[in-house]
Symmetry: C2
Subunit: 241 residues, 2 copies
């Protein structure tokens, strides 16, 4: 299982597709929030000056999700509410020059956190549904992450990870609508969400609209999510093995 290394060899990198819900660009004249993701500007060839997924080489004694979380903190200063391995990309042609195998994670960040995301000259948030040509095969990777996100939102209960600690059912429904790209019946969505048993009603309400105040709910972490990898629930804001 040990491999003798000579000159040029295969590099191993860990990168992360980070999704957050942000108020839509005023220019786009759409009231609802949309999915955004932070990208880093490359400062050398190949793909100099292109945007790329945050990531980097795996630390010598570092576990894979730890590396993903580290790059997430490094680029955005944020803690994800959800983190899951996406796929390993290793096509020899995906990186000109040096061969690189990338293990990709994807993450969801809540609106509370996302509001205080750090930005800089070389880090920028771009809308997930309208990206420029990215470095390497990163457009393909983002598309695949979006596909997985839509799948998970449809049959799982992770949408809350894009909101804050508490949220109204209308807010949760809006997340589903934005991710899935379709309108959902408020009455039926409410029933399904409550029937899933993953939500806990709080005593608080959200006031301020020109209408009846909405009850606030929080997510019950006692429920496990599907397909978090073989090591059990990888995520949910704490722990890092």
């Amino acid at each position: 299982m040990t491999l003798r290394r000579d000159v040029a060899t295969t590099d191993l990198a860990v990168s992360t597709v980070i999704f957050a819900l942000r108020p839509n660009d005023p220019l786009r004249r759409r009231p609802e929030p949309t999915l955004w993701l932070p990208l880093v500007r490359r400062l050398r060839e190949p793909y100099d000056d292109h945007w790329a997924l945050p990531g980097g080489p795996l630390g010598a004694e570092e576990d894979l999700p730890v590396a993903a979380r580290r790059t997430l903190v490094a680029t955005t200063g944020l803690t994800p509410k959800y983190l899951e391995q996406l796929y390993a990309f290793g096509n020899p042609a995906r990186s000109p020059g040096q061969r690189v195998v990338s293990i990709i994670y994807w993450a969801l960040v809540g609106t509370d956190e996302a509001a205080r995301a750090s930005v800089g000259q070389n880090v920028r948030w771009l809308p997930a549904d309208d990206l420029p040509a990215l470095a390497f095969d990163h457009n393909l990777i983002v598309d695949y992450a979006l596909w997985r996100l839509r799948n998970k939102v449809a049959y799982s209960r992770i949408a809350h990870a894009l909101l804050g600690q508490t949220f109204t059912l209308a807010e949760l429904r809006q997340v589903h609508e934005v991710v899935l790209g379709e309108q959902l019946d408020p009455a039926n969505f409410r029933r399904q969400a409550l029937a899933s048993g993953t939500l806990v009603a709080t005593d608080d309400k959200r006031t301020g609209g020109r209408h009846r105040p909405a009850r606030l709910y929080r997510y019950s972490d006692t429920e496990t999510l599907a397909d978090n990898g073989p090591v059990g629930p990888l995520l949910l804001s704490e722990e890092g093995s």
Copy 2:
């Protein structure tokens, strides 16, 4: 993205969990076939003399699924009907001594192929539901692969990949029953299988039982399977990118 290497560094390996349906061991007194997988005997430390998943280091210019297919051919001499990436395992403690990140694939082999699998002193087929202690974290990996297989069989149409080119609906149903570990209603299974639109009736029938002959069907490859990774349908007997 380039990484300077010094002395000890991280190894990258590709291994494959290979499933095939084989007639059950006469000792077990069960008439139905069960899932078996080929394992290779380790001939050195760590885990000397333990059974391990077939695999090895990634070739310098070799794509990941190509490496998986190569180790599959090397250990069994077989061509898989289905091949999909499972997960990347990278816990620093999973391999004593040298740090190894393993990208695992899982594969399904048809009964026609499996019948002429090569065996040797250091390759043995063992029943998936009754494995000894394997090398490294390979028990965990096999369990995860089994979980994925059961999931896929339940909501997708891949079970045919464990059979031959043509098969009766009863044979297909038996595959589902063995994988899921529960009895299924023949009438309802038939309707669902046919309604999926993935099966094509042939003019042939399977005779020989003390009962009415059963029509033979084949799988229609025009249908795409879900979650074959971002690169589209990875598999179905040919192609290797």
